[in-house]
Every structure is written in C-alpha cells, then in structure tokens.
Symmetry: C2
Subunit: 204 residues, 2 copies
C-alpha cells in the first residue's frame, strides 16, 4: 500500500493524532479482513507505513490496539438502547432495523465485520468485546416492556440478528444477500419479536 | 503438544492412512481454534509432528487440506434432510434439534466450529464450504410442506440457528451458554418454524 506521507522517517511525526488515526484505520481494515488472530502488529505497521515500534509505543499491545478500533459499538449502544424503548408491539421491528441497519450502512459495516469475525474466532478478542456488549445489556432493564426484558430472549434475538447478518454480509449467499432491506426487516422482525416478548406476562 | 508417537522420525511412516489421519486431526483442531486464514501448513505439520513437505505431498495445498477436513457436513446432510421431512407442524423443532444437536454432540462440535469460523472469516474457505451447503439446499425441495420450502425462509431459519450456536458455543455467554438443551430447542423452534412456514399457503 503506497501512500504519500508528510511525516519524517524518525520517531517524531507531524501529529500524534493523525498517526494514531492512520494506524487505527489500517488496523481496522486488517482486523475486518483477516480477523484478530491472523492480524499482526507487523502487518498493521506495514499497511500504515509506520515502524512497528511506533504501534507498540501508541498502543502497547495487539490486544489494546484491537480494543482501540472498537470505538464504534460504544457509540452505537445508545441506538440499540433507544430501539428497546417505545411500544412493546414494535420492539422486534425497531431492534431488527437498528441492528441490521448497522450492517447495511457503509460507514459502520466494516466495524460490525471486525467485531463479528474477531469475537467469533478469537477468545482473546471475545474477551475485549464482551465488556462492550455487557455494558449495553446491563442497561436494557429500562425498557417499556410490561416486565423486565427476558435475558435469554434478548440473547436469542441478538443471536438471530447476528446469524442473519453473517449469512447476508459475510457468506453473501443469495437470495438473502440481495433481498431489499425493507423486505429483510419485515421477514426477520416477527421472529425477533417472538423472542423478546415470549415469557412476558400481558401488560397489566 | 507432546504425544507418544510410534512413527519414526524419518520420511517413512508406518502407514499412509494413519499419517493422513494424524495430519487431518491436527488440521481440524487448528482450523477450529484459529480459523482458516490464521492456520498455516507449517503449523499443522508441527502439530502432527511431520514435515510440511509431507502435507504438500498428501494434500497439495492448504485449500485442499481444508476441504479434506470437511468430511463431516457431508455425512450430516442426510440428517438435516431427514429433519425437513415429516409433519409441517414439527418442522421448526426437528430442524432446530438436528442442527443445534450437531453443536451439542462432542463428536461433531469441533467440525461445526471449523466450518463456522472458517467460512465466516475467509472468503477462500467460504468458497470451499459453499458447494457443501448448496448440495444440501439443492435437495430440500422434497419436503412434506404443502408448497416448496421458501428459499429465503430456509436461509433465515439457518441463519437464526447459526447465530444461536455462535452465541452459545463460540462466545459462550451465559445464560444462553448454560441453558439445558431441551429448553434451548423449545425456545428457538417457534421462531425457526415461523421462517420455514411463512409465505406457505395452507395445506390444500
């Protein structure tokens, strides 16, 4: 990967922030393509045209570098939480639209791929991802459901959405991969709704 | 990895078949742990205590080696097909029990992990897996459903099952990871049924 660079070749760079961002961009792309295990600091350094030592200085370890690329899900948590509020009847549709929308949007898809590939293939990466997920799940008590959101039902709903995203975006198997987004939401939402509300007692 | 081995240290091994099996066992374990991209022929050779050249001689390439580890899904296809026969009302439960059962059974779980991790993280591996899946899907016309099994519905059902298996067995996040199998089947089957039968006209 050749890039025109303004920085010198010595330790000092024009700006810490831009170097850091370039390293993160390269890391994000490699983690998305190859997963956590297959991505080395050396490969990230080569892609970002920096010395591996610079990455160690900025991030300390591959694990920390990976964690630093995960800025996106933390921003997205409010969206998922917002989807859990509102009328119980529309819960499945809102969650389906929000989660699958993160995969549909070109600006967030790569982050979803990184998260998914890395957390499913590497126990180290999973250990980094788990607190992010736990932070979201920890907040899901405050929904408008008549009772608490059933924890297993939420996991099943998210598992369902995860699997559908994998088939559509990772395996890219037709016809699911080419189904219009609105049709996808319409087909998936009822099953998600079923998981989110099963075991709920009717609103008092 | 230390193992007591009966084979000599030279090129000659006691039997082609046992060498081949040992290479496949080592490959299967490494593909399951690290995925397709991160597994090298050199690493498989080290784990099987053989020369990398021997793996090249037996299998030709990493791609072929990977394909050779995929013997299991071909055997399992009849099980999945059998699950698609029988009363339409029990379709979701039979498919759920059969597919998730492949992950539950210690003798087949590792193969499911290989397939899943490799096909989701590597486009090369996906290219190997796709024909196996296509072979199964190609046979699903012969169900007892009133109409043809809806292709998108089948993909959504399988996507759902895949995602649930990932959460339960790969991320191992409780409480889903520790839910008794029968409870799991009971909770998942209705959503799978919904996908398999939605769009079906009622039996004439």
């Amino acid at each position: 990967m050749t890039k025109s660079r303004t920085g010198g070749r010595t330790g000092r760079r024009p700006g810490h922030q831009s170097t850091r961002r370039e390293i993160l961009d390269a890391a994000r792309q490699l983690f998305a393509t190859h997963g956590y295990s297959a991505t080395t600091i050396r490969a990230v350094a080569a892609a970002a045209s920096v010395d591996p030592a610079l990455i160690h200085r900025h991030f300390g370890s591959k694990e920390n570098l990976f964690a630093a690329t995960l800025n996106f899900p933390e921003q997205a948590a409010p969206n998922v939480l917002a989807a859990l509020h509102g009328s119980p009847a529309g819960l499945g549709e809102r969650l389906t639209r929000t989660y699958l929308g993160l995969w549909e949007d070109a600006s967030t898809r790569e982050q979803m791929e990184i998260l998914t590939k890395s957390s499913l293939t590497s126990t180290e990466a999973m250990a980094r991802v788990r607190p992010v997920i736990a932070r979201v799940v920890g907040q899901i008590r405050t929904t408008d459901l008549p009772g608490p959101l059933p924890e297993i039902g939420f996991q099943l709903a998210m598992g369902h959405l995860l699997g559908v995203a994998c088939v559509r975006h990772l395996t890219q198997a037709p016809p699911l991969s080419t189904l219009p987004f609105e049709d996808l939401v319409a087909r998936v939402a009822p099953a998600v709704q079923l998981h989110l509300t099963s075991g709920q007692s009717p609103r008092a």
